[in-house]
């Protein structure tokens, strides 16, 4: 980006670069350092910790209100599908809408400039300043100017750019980047703000009184507004039918920036194009509500050309990687983004580290997705590793962007570009070779005995000297807060081998006159090798419900662990193995269903496999994956939607007196709630079928922090998320914590063990098996 810079300005560029080096929040700092700094920022941690639940509540309230008052057409679900349609149309017909927008805007007197790169956009604005002798510009919030690093560019060339949005200005004073797209200084205390304002103004400003601090901005920026010859703003939408720029603000600075200076420059990405006012109203309904839980912002402004004849208006449209996104059949969906930051607000790892680490200029889930296109895969590689694939972001996106799967696509690209860490390569490679993996696991299940000492856990204290071996440091650190599970000396496959798992009662046939349901049980590698007792419980419960169970001995890992790490090669190998094994098992047993008590495996097979074979362009496997998916069901759905719905009666022990032992709290695993849409089923089973007391924990539907390999790569983040979950669970007073996903259970169980908490952590099937009469 370095243009021909006059010598006297090279100095200021150098000193700006030095400042950046010293600034731990700047995106040019290595990711690891930004992350370390973020994890140490106690203020940001508590601010984000308070914000997350309060935002969720406000958002729920505002969308609930709209639906209650105006009906289902105004529900979030309906409105977002309308906006998605409108944005998809705009993306599909971009040249048409662009031509229309341009024609209308120019007819109204605006000058439209199309910038292909960040450099072109910055240079256009800089040259406009030099032509007019402008050395001071006032800015209202525009993410695109941060994307192109406009302020840096102008300042290196002697032009002062003043941010007038309160949060952006304070960040500017602190020489820091905003840590959130909508709340730039959420990471700052009022004390810090008061100090910054005191230094900037030379007056003593209160460290406590926020109203007084806010009043400062009105005074300090008055001169800038009145004297600046250029105002630079963003756009929330570019309405093609009239050539109108739509802008949402709360403070009032946006209207001053765009009205007072004689020259107004709008910077906007092409993706801001939308067809009509009607569609813009839908966007209006969704944007503020998703961002802050407001019904609408204080000001929504519609600018069509320069308002008066003495004014000049330029609209700089920025590509900077957007056309590459548009050309990609998957990433084109991300162009629908309306920059609401809901995907940041709901994200559990974001909540722990904030926007400086969880992104690169653009933060939150969308930041992980677009960064490779605007700033390169290097910039995106670090931040994407923080994603735990909980899928919460997708549930709140007002334009239905498939963020979780796009993030995994970015992960895959990062792995292609940079390779996999050797340990992962070794593990996935082993998993993809079932016979070798079997031998290796059996070996480890014996070799670990001195360390597990007969317990089900590998604990730090028992690692001893082993912990000092090379490569063990990460394991030791992990075991410190999450006791690791031991390999079962007798895996599930051994326990069921040769057995006939027939119904333990004849109820199905007798009571319903229907033939017995048969299922193929797909245990998943975790249940098989680490928690065979969970598998045994599943089988016991199914048999007690009159179901015939078969266990295909050839089953292995579904491949999720590799796919989620961006390793498509090993993941696809395991997917193909799994499909083949289950097809054969179905053929042999004539089973009605393939059943798994691992929600993660189920989602992997019924959702992820299809996408994988589409991306690999293997239509044969895609067809087979689709056919297999029809037969696959998770344990909870099977119990509730099939067995109980068919009138199956479970003989359970009486609830009896309410002893502590039968008070249960339930964790909604991400796959179950966000991917499979399950919520009431498990609760129905626990309360109505088992007759137990269920106490809801706060935020039962927030991720437990396991996130597959994320808990190893980013142990501290995973630990914090886990602690939130365990604290929430404990707060109910329940003695038993239940979930239906072995990954979550391993994580939570290990956390309970390492912290000495007193809670039993069970799979739903284990709870049911315990309560059978």
């Amino acid at each position: 980006m370095k243009n021909k810079i006059p010598p006297q300005q090279q100095e200021s560029l150098k000193s700006a670069a030095v400042e950046d080096d010293a600034n731990p929040t700047d995106e040019h700092q290595p990711f690891e350092q930004r992350l370390e700094h973020a994890l140490a920022d106690g203020q940001m941690h508590s601010a984000l910790g308070r914000f997350a639940p309060s935002w969720r509540a406000s958002r729920q309230a505002v969308f609930g209100y709209e639906e209650d008052e105006y009906g289902p057409d105004y529900s979030f679900t309906h409105m977002r599908s309308l906006l998605r349609e409108a944005k998809d149309y705009a993306i599909e017909h971009q040249s048409e809408l662009l031509a229309q927008f341009r024609a209308m805007a120019e007819a109204a007197g605006a000058i439209v400039y199309e910038a292909r790169t960040a450099e072109e956009a910055n240079r256009y604005i800089y040259e406009l300043c030099t032509r007019k002798g402008i050395d001071l510009v006032v800015k209202s919030k525009t993410m695109v100017s941060e994307e192109t690093e406009l302020n840096h560019y102008l300042e290196a060339r002697g032009i002062k750019a003043v941010e007038t949005d309160l949060g952006e200005w304070v960040a500017q004073l602190a020489h820091e980047r905003p840590s959130h797209m909508v709340m730039p200084i959420i990471h700052k205390t009022r004390q810090q703000v008061g100090t910054l304002l005191t230094e900037a103004t030379g007056r003593e400003i209160s460290r406590e009184n926020v109203a007084e601090q806010v009043a400062v901005i009105r005074v300090e920026h008055r001169k800038s507004f009145l004297n600046a010859a250029m105002g630079i703003s963003g756009a929330n939408a570019l309405i093609a039918e009239s050539g109108t720029v739509m802008m949402l603000t709360n403070e009032g600075n946006g209207r001053l920036v765009t009205s007072l200076p004689p020259v107004h420059v709008v910077m906007a990405g092409y993706d801001k194009l939308i067809g009509t006012f009607a569609e813009a109203m839908t966007q209006l309904r969704l944007l503020a509500r998703s961002a802050t839980g407001q019904h609408i912002t204080s000001y929504t402004t519609f600018i069509t050309g320069p308002a008066t004849s003495d004014k000049e208006m330029h609209i700089v449209l920025v590509d900077n990687g957007r056309s590459k996104m548009r050309a990609d059949p998957r990433f084109k969906d991300a162009l629908r983004c309306i920059r609401c930051a809901a995907c940041a607000n709901i994200c559990p790892p974001y909540q722990q580290v904030g926007g400086h680490a969880f992104g690169y200029i653009y933060s939150g889930a969308i930041g992980l997705v677009v960064t490779p296109f605007h700033h390169g895969i290097e910039a995106g590689a670090g931040p994407q590793s923080l994603c735990v694939s909980c899928n919460a972001c997708e549930t709140v996106c007002p334009v239905e962007i498939p963020l979780p799967s796009l993030i995994l696509d970015v992960r895959h690209r990062a792995v292609e570009a940079k390779g996999l860490p050797w340990l992962k390569k070794a593990i996935f490679g082993a998993l993809a070779r079932p016979r070798f993996f079997d031998v290796a696991v059996r070996f480890f299940s014996l070799a670990q005995l001195p360390v597990t000492r007969g317990s089900n856990y590998v604990r730090t204290r028992s690692l001893g000297i082993l912990g000092k071996l090379p490569g063990m440091h990460a394991i030791v650190k992990l075991a410190g807060w999450r006791s690791l599970p031991a390999f079962a000396t007798k895996p599930l496959r051994d326990r069921v081998k040769g057995q006939v798992l027939s119904p333990s009662k004849i109820s199905s046939k007798d009571e319903l006159g229907r033939s017995t349901i048969t299922v193929c049980y797909f245990a998943g590698c975790m249940t098989d090798r680490l928690f065979p007792e969970m598998g045994e419980a599943v089988i016991k419960v199914l048999r007690a419900c009159g179901v015939q169970v078969t266990f295909p001995q050839k089953q292995n890992c579904c491949g999720l662990i590799a796919l989620n790490s961006g390793d498509w090669a090993d993941g696809a190998t395991m997917a193909r193995q799994t499909i083949t094994t289950l097809e054969q098992a179905l053929e042999k047993s004539k089973a009605d269903y393939i059943l798994s008590a691992s929600a993660s495996c189920v989602v992997s097979i019924v959702q992820d496999y299809m996408k994988l074979f589409e991306d690999l362009q293997q239509p044969g496997w895609l067809r087979r994956a689709r056919a297999l998916a029809e037969k696959v069901m998770d344990f909870t759905s099977f119990m509730d939607h099939v067995l109980l719905a068919n009138g199956t009666k479970l003989s359970v022990r009486e609830g009896g007196e309410r002893t502590d032992d039968v008070i249960v709290t339930y964790h909604d695993s991400c796959q179950s709630i966000n991917c499979l849409g399950l919520r009431s089923e498990a609760r129905h089973i626990i309360q109505d079928v088992l007759g137990l007391e269920l106490r809801e924990m706060p935020q039962s539907d927030v991720c437990c922090g396991f996130g597959g390999s994320t808990s190893i790569e980013h142990g501290e983040v995973a630990e914090r998320i886990m602690n939130n979950k365990l604290n929430n669970a404990e707060s109910t007073g329940a003695a038993v914590l239940v979930a239906d996903n072995p990954g979550c259970l391993m994580h939570l169980r290990g956390g309970v063990d390492a912290s000495g908490r007193k809670m039993r952590v069970l799979h739903l099937a284990q709870l049911m098996a315990e309560r059978l009469a």
Binding site: R50, E69, L166, R190, G252, T300, P306
Partner: protein, 185 residues
């Protein structure tokens, strides 16, 4: 689904964001609301240069003058900045969000609503419409190219605000601290 009187809804939404909403029978009562408002202790109110001639709101000016209130026409932004009170007319009000739609092209007219501390907005009762779709329809019409094209339109919902510092809400930042909408029958 509920059907609520539009003004009741409008008032509910506007007061929820810290604005004021009044429904009055006519322009005389509107003048009363303004003149008795605490913002008028200074006795001066700013209006756009063409306000006196605008229908129907121009008629309010002599009513205010008769109560001893000085009328000043907005000039440069600097001259209006932080003036205690300003009055504008709105094209439309939207009940769903408690918003008013202002569509004056001239800078002087617009700074009345951008830089004064208390902003009074007058809107006719028949222009109080239920939903944002209604705003969208009007926006479409107002932006059509031609001599009456409105080039700078704002949907204003309450006073200016920020929660940027520790998420503590502060009303009154760069824009007005008080927004008072008077719906005139």
């Amino acid at each position: 689904m509920t059907t609520i009187d539009p003004f009741v809804r409008f008032q509910e939404r506007l007061t929820a964001v810290g604005g004021e909403a009044h429904a009055v029978a006519g322009i005389t009562q509107a003048a009363e609301v303004i003149s008795s408002h605490p913002a008028l202790t200074d006795g001066e109110v700013i209006v756009a240069p063409n306000f006196a001639a605008c229908q129907p709101w121009g008629a309010i000016l002599p009513l205010l003058t008769s109560k001893g209130i000085k009328i000043r026409e907005a000039g440069s932004p600097a001259s209006v900045a932080d003036a205690p009170a300003g009055i504008s007319g709105a094209e439309l009000a939207i009940a769903e969000t408690g918003s008013v739609l202002l569509a004056e092209n001239s800078l002087e007219a617009r700074v009345v609503g951008m830089l004064t501390l208390t902003h009074f907005v007058l809107v006719r009762e028949e222009r109080l419409l239920p939903m944002l779709e209604d705003a969208g329809n009007l926006l479409q019409k107002l932006t059509v190219a031609g001599p009456d094209q409105r080039r700078y339109i704002s949907l204003v919902t309450g006073p200016s605000r920020t929660a940027d510092i520790e998420r503590t809400l502060t009303i009154g930042v760069q824009g007005p601290r008080v927004l008072c909408v008077i719906v005139v029958g």
